[in-house]
């Protein structure tokens, strides 16, 4: 897949290749290019030359998320290419990385060529690349053995190896493979090159070798699975081309982002994003599952099972683990292995735990799968207990966080997890512990939903009563403590002594989704969300224009996050703001068109009037799971899909310019049903200019 200029990516699970548009890799310590597996870079150099010349890309075919094809000619880019020789470089990741080189001789005479692939690896851990600090404590080695090039890195018992081999005769040396070939007139030469990425254990065996694994999948099986995946999802017919494109793109990208943990072969949950986050994340997996539940419900079931299986059981300050807490992030690289980083797994998230409970209830409402609710009763109770027993750090009934790992635990454990995402309106950063508003909303919703499950499935009405009483008390308290009188919105967070982070942020949209907002205050919240300070014309900004830390390209302080907007649209609909919800959906689908249907992690918060197109945030992941899930959740909110007493209610609120929509075969406890809608909501396209505000 290629979305940025000159960057081509293919992947299978947590093995992926990021290269330039020639297929070459020339990684620098800080660039996430190369062949990666197990959060480790196995190839940092992979360069093809013919007679010492680099190649030039004519075109790139994205065949699939796991295979791509480059058409190349030798020599530098030129306006007019008249090559006697051309190259087809096909690559795939089907378990491991493989490349097929085909060199075509277009001349009437034979040619003799020296075809070379330079290969090298720095075995960098993804976190070393992220932090731009590769400081290896172990030793590198490289050797040629039985015609294979073996490159390795060893630190104590930790060993990772890259093994390169080919089907054709070649001179194999440390540093690369050279083919000396004679190609007759109008003929071709082909070689396959295989690259294995190994985690070598004692005795030289791969650590994964003896594991009961799902068995390697072949290319045809992967292709078949992808087709089945697309076929089993509801089909969309609509007049809006951007929406149609975004839906199709999302389905395929979601298939690509499916990730099967080594311990549970064959079970898939969504990984968070390429290239930085191809692993299990509590929050991202749950949000993506919630977004995609009406379309691919199987992701929700496995996400719940896997997160439950890895729920915290201990008090571990380094990993910020407590009993009942749902994990944040799981990694397999050197920094996790040697505890330079705490991801084995790391639990520093305040919201994954309530979100887990919310997903279980939402999943049951759609699927009717009470067996899973039974199966996860203990884990759900433990999650609820965690909020009370371990996360109420100020002892006042709110959900707080403060990292105990002071070295590299997360300072912010909410979805806006960058260091400067929380502030007061004057820009000062708050102290600890911190309680953000949307986390209180999630906790409220988790209690309300768990009460429903306790009554319906666990046969524990007393527990349900208690949860409902706690939720009601929380709602009342929250509306008192978090309400910013002057601005008439909810504070981003509060201090233990009650001081408010009085900034206006997108977080208030999640509050609508959670149901914690007082009905009387909801109109004001809706007004803010689509008002000039938050709404850019493309979407709702993470932070409002006018706040001290506002920056249209600040990661969590001004950019627009598609996933955030999808939950805001859901929240607006929940409180009956159909026009505002349609407006948010409409702006986001308009934006998707500029990204060929693939919404990025975040884009700039500039006014739509000003830039005319959405400006992508520089280092954002793409595809990113919860951006991928965004068009699906927007479809749900526009169609007004809600499970209701065993059937699916459809109550469309579709922007006018979407035209007609039919979504066929929506799966759920009702079997499969169709939804139809016609665009009737006139969306205010006029966008305010923030220049008028400041």
């Amino acid at each position: 897949m290629s979305d940025e200029l000159g960057v081509v990516k293919i992947l299978d699970g947590n093995t992926f290749v990021v290269s330039d548009d020639r297929g070459d890799v020339e990684a620098t310590p800080s660039s996430p290019t190369g062949l990666f597996a197990l959060d480790t870079r196995f190839l940092s150099r992979w360069v093809l030359t013919i007679d010492g010349q680099r190649l030039n890309s004519l075109s790139v075919d994205d065949l699939n998320y796991f295979e791509t094809r480059f058409f190349l000619v030798p020599g530098e880019a030129a306006y007019y290419v008249d090559a006697k020789v051309s190259v087809i470089r096909e690559r795939s990741i089907v378990g491991s990385f493989a490349e097929t080189l085909t060199v075509l001789n277009h001349a009437e005479v034979p040619v003799d060529l020296e075809i070379r692939i330079e290969a090298g690896s720095d075995f960098a851990d993804l976190f070393e690349i992220k932090d731009e600090a590769i400081d290896k404590k172990g030793d590198y080695y490289a050797e040629v053995q039985d015609g294979h090039l073996r490159m390795g890195y060893q630190r104590g018992t930790f060993r990772r190896e890259t093994v390169v081999s080919t089907t054709e005769p070649a001179t194999v040396e440390v540093g690369g493979l050279t083919f000396t070939v004679h190609i007759p007139a109008n003929d071709k030469w082909t070689a396959e090159i295989h690259v294995k990425s190994l985690a070598v254990g004692p005795g030289g065996r791969d650590l994964r070798m003896g594991l009961r694994a799902g068995g390697a999948r072949g290319r045809d099986q992967m292709q078949r699975e992808l087709e089945e995946w697309i076929e089993s999802a509801p089909s969309l017919n609509c007049e809006s081309e951007p929406l149609q494109t975004a839906y199709r793109r999302s389905l395929v990208d979601l298939a690509a982002l499916r990730y099967s943990p080594i311990a549970l072969p064959g079970q898939y949950l969504p990984a968070a994003g390429l290239p930085w986050f191809m692993t299990m994340f509590g929050r991202d997996s749950v949000f993506t599952s919630l977004q995609t539940l009406p379309f691919v419900p199987s992701l929700s079931a496995t996400t719940l099972r896997i997160l439950a299986a890895l729920q915290g059981t201990r008090i571990d300050d380094f990993r910020d683990e407590d009993p009942g807490r749902i994990l944040h992030e799981f990694r397999y690289g050197e920094t996790a292995a040697f505890e330079d980083q705490p991801h084995s797994p790391y639990f520093g998230t305040v919201d994954a735990t309530p979100l887990f409970v919310i997903l279980l209830d939402e999943y049951e409402r759609w699927s009717g799968d009470t067996a899973l609710v039974h199966e996860l009763e203990k884990e759900t109770r433990a999650a609820l207990n965690w909020m009370y027993e371990y996360a109420d750090l100020a002892g006042n009934g709110y959900l707080w966080y403060e990292r105990r790992n002071l070295k590299n635990g997360l300072e912010n454990q909410c979805w806006k997890d960058s260091w400067d995402s929380l502030s007061y309106s004057d820009g000062r950063l708050p102290g600890y512990p911190r309680a953000t508003c949307e986390s209180q909303g999630y906790m409220y919703d988790a209690k309300v939903r768990a009460a429903r499950l306790a009554r319906l499935v666990w046969n524990d009405p007393a527990f349900a009563d208690r949860l409902e009483a706690e939720a009601a008390a929380l709602k009342e308290r929250f509306n008192r403590d978090f309400w910013v009188e002057e601005g008439e919105y909810y504070a981003l967070g509060i201090d233990p002594d009650g001081g408010q982070y009085d900034v206006l942020t997108s977080n208030i949209g999640h509050l609508l989704w959670s149901g914690i907002v007082d009905a009387a205050r909801a109109p004001k919240i809706a007004e803010h969300l689509v008002g000039p300070r938050l709404y850019s014309g493309w979407g709702v900004r993470t932070m409002a224009v006018g706040e001290a830390r506002y920056n249209p390209i600040g990661y969590h302080v001004g950019t627009i996050w598609p996933f955030d907007n999808s939950f805001i649209a859901w929240g607006l609909r929940r409180y009956g703001f159909v026009e505002e919800s349609a407006m948010v959906a409409d702006g986001m689908i308009d934006a998707a068109e500029f990204f060929q249907g693939r919404l990025p992690e975040a884009f700039g918060g500039y006014d739509r009037e000003l830039t005319k197109y959405p400006v992508q945030y520089p280092t954002a992941c793409s595809p990113q799971a919860w951006s991928t899930g965004t068009p699906m959740l927007l479809l749900r909110t526009m169609l007004g899909l809600e499970p209701h007493e065993g059937h699916l209610a459809v109550e469309p609120a579709l922007p006018e310019d979407m035209g007609r929509i039919e979504l066929l075969d929506i799966p759920g406890r009702w079997g499969r049903v169709d939804a139809f809608a016609r665009g009737r909501i006139e969306v205010r396209k006029k966008v305010f200019s923030t220049a008028e505000l400041t």
Partner: protein
């Protein structure tokens, strides 16, 4: 050969008879603690949370091999069982899932304090 924490860990499992955290799994995990050519075996049989520990050397669904020193540290909480696996200091053959589930029963690191609650809470609201 087995250290105090190791003995306490396995005896604890055996005494517990039932562990709610293991109710979703069924299978056997054998720990092979290897030291100077000698191997000590501990077999943990799990049946939907019911536990039985023995010293038998028989086939198991998951075989975990390591040295007694590291295992002692896992059993006293000073080392982490997942990080050790990633390092290759401990190897697993068979079901990784069974090992990961059992790994969750290793104790907390002794120096971990847990959440620092600022204000004492008075009763549940």
């Amino acid at each position: 050969m087995a250290g105090n924490a190791t003995l306490a860990f396995f005896e604890g499992l055996d005494r517990r008879r039932h562990e709610p955290l293991l109710e979703k799994i069924k299978g056997t995990v054998r720990f092979d603690l290897q030291h100077r050519g000698q191997t000590e075996h501990w077999l943990v049989a799990i049946d939907r949370g019911d536990l039985a520990v023995s010293r038998e050397e028989q086939d198991a669904d998951s075989v975990v091999a390591t040295d007694p020193e590291l295992f002692e540290q896992l059993a006293n909480g000073t080392e982490n069982g997942v990080a050790a696996g990633l390092r290759g200091a401990l190897t697993i053959v068979g079901s990784l899932h069974l090992y990961l589930m059992l790994e969750r029963l290793f104790p907390s690191p002794p120096d971990s304090q847990g959440p620092r609650r600022r204000i004492r809470r008075e009763g549940r609201q």
